[in-house]
């Protein structure tokens, strides 16, 4: 195995132990499953199995994530700084990008486990949504998670404390989850309305919910994810000048 892969695996293992041992992991999984499921199963206070819709179920995930992702990412770096353990990581013979990648892959693994646990919903529906829709929807949710978590990590690296990291990440996610509503709420020039819809997560989920995975949607999620991780490592490097 390549040395860098071995180091990433070691860092990933340490971060996973840290994440999955804390009550945060269990509470987050429960919050995720109940947050997506309860409004779905009890839309009017009564069980209405006839109105089950897999797409509607999945469409709740980004809104649950507005609260969930900031909780998962706010302590990723601020906790290291507070406990002084950032010095341990900084003194190791690994790049700042590898440190960032280790943290990101661990929190992404926790998110993937939540998605995995939500899969049985698809198989218990009266009408199976279809393999294409299932695969495309989950793929776009994975990409959405990667972008949101990398943004949360970037905020955690650059924030002075957890509260600030939580607030900034939550506001960012809320903005990108609702920006498509702006043209309907206020009169905007056509170009601004176009930009609002193209920047919104909802617009990039739409094709996936029809069973199509558009390469433009994939790039929409992947490129900013890479940028957030790269920027996080640059900011970590700059901390070596300041801390």
């Amino acid at each position: 195995m390549d040395a860098r892969h071995a180091e990433l695996k070691t860092l990933f293992g340490k971060e996973c132990r840290h994440l999955f041992r804390s009550p945060l992991a269990l509470i987050s999984v429960l919050f995720f499953l109940l947050g997506c499921g309860i409004p779905h199963y009890f839309p009017l206070g009564t069980v209405t199995t006839d109105s089950f819709s897999f797409t509607r179920y999945l469409s709740r995930i980004p809104f649950v994530a507005i609260l969930l992702f900031p909780v998962l990412t706010m302590g990723l770096w601020t906790n290291e700084r507070r406990g002084g353990t950032d010095a341990i990581l900084f003194s190791m013979p690994v790049s700042d990008l590898l440190i960032v990648s280790g943290k990101f892959t661990a929190v992404f693994a926790l998110y993937l486990s939540m998605l995995l646990l939500s899969l049985p919903v698809a198989f218990t529906l009266p009408v199976y949504p279809g393999t294409g829709i299932l695969l495309c929807s989950y793929s776009s949710l994975m990409l959405y998670g990667a972008l949101s978590l990398s943004a949360g990590l970037l905020v955690s690296v650059s924030s002075p404390n957890q509260a600030v990291a939580f607030l900034v990440t939550a506001v960012l996610l809320l903005a990108f989850n609702t920006i498509q509503l702006l043209p309907g709420a206020t009169a905007l020039p056509a170009a601004a309305s176009f930009l609002c819809s193209r920047l919104s997560f909802a617009w990039h989920f739409e094709t996936a919910s029809r069973g199509i995975l558009d390469s433009r949607d994939i790039l929409f999620f992947i490129l900013p994810t890479a940028a957030c991780l790269g920027l996080s490592s640059v900011l970590l490097g700059r901390r070596r000048y300041r801390s």
Partner: protein, 247 residues
């Protein structure tokens, strides 16, 4: 070997370290003395590669920390002030993590862990989460992390602060037993530790290197009876901007 040349560290308008140059050779345990706020931790963090100098250079076993940071860090083991550790990981998991990050795996990793646990007398607590350990064990665990990859250079930032006399004696005995062939720079406030462990001394005050040499040399220069008195005289003289070079 540690070689520092004209090291400076500036935080805004505050200069934490100013034009510090020295060398520490293999087989030497060198003490870094200085009053609180003298810049000891800043200097040690720069040597460990945790903090980048504003100017100047550091070389660890001939690897410049500015141009070859990963190679330099590969040869360095560090105990930071208050021995920061991950509370939810066990001592064994800590060692496996650090050794893994230095490229150890399989049998080599297992043998490095068991050797380090034995050297630092941590066998009995290897499966205990760090948050449950006493201060003495935590400090030893911190030292174990610095030793697990068998580094050539050890940087120890007040590793004995807060230890009781028994723990202190045990810690000194561990450092004494591992010092052969290694380059060790030890920051401390304990003059007893300096006398029992260290061959040479570097003295910092107000971010400047105000003295260096052996205990005998520093005592002779200052006319002091012991190293504690010599330290106080040198620091006081520094207030009057008098520089004493022990070489």
């Amino acid at each position: 070997m540690i070689s520092a040349s004209h090291l400076c560290k500036q935080y805004g308008n505050h200069r934490a370290c100013s034009d510090i140059s020295f060398e520490v050779f293999p087989g030497e345990v060198t003490a870094l003395l200085g009053p609180n706020g003298a810049g000891k931790s800043t200097l040690l963090k720069m040597l460990a590669g945790v903090l980048r100098p504003s100017s100047g250079s550091v070389s660890i076993t001939s690897h410049d920390i500015g141009t070859e940071p990963l190679a330099a860090r590969r040869h360095t083991g560090c105990v930071f002030e208050n021995a920061p550790l991950y509370g939810d990981l066990t001592v064994g998991e800590h060692l496996a993590f650090v050794a893994g990050m230095y490229g150890y795996s399989g049998e080599k990793l297992r043998s490095a862990i068991s050797r380090t646990l034995a050297v630092c007398c941590l066998d009995s607590v290897s499966d205990a989460p760090v948050r449950t350990l006493s201060r003495g064990f935590r400090q030893r665990a911190g030292l174990a992390l610095a030793l697990v990859h068998d580094p050539d250079v050890l940087i120890l930032d007040e590793p004995t602060s807060g230890l009781d006399p028994v723990q202190l004696a045990e810690f000194r005995s561990i450092v004494g037993s591992i010092s052969s062939g290694k380059t060790i720079l030890l920051s401390t406030h304990s003059m007893g530790e300096v006398e029992s462990l260290c061959g040479r001394i570097l003295m910092l005050s107000q971010g400047k290197l105000v003295g260096q040499g052996t205990i005998a040399e520093l005592c002779r220069q200052t006319g002091a009876a012991d190293i504690g008195e010599a330290f106080i005289r040198i620091v006081r003289e520094q207030s009057g901007e008098i520089f004493i070079d022990g070489r």
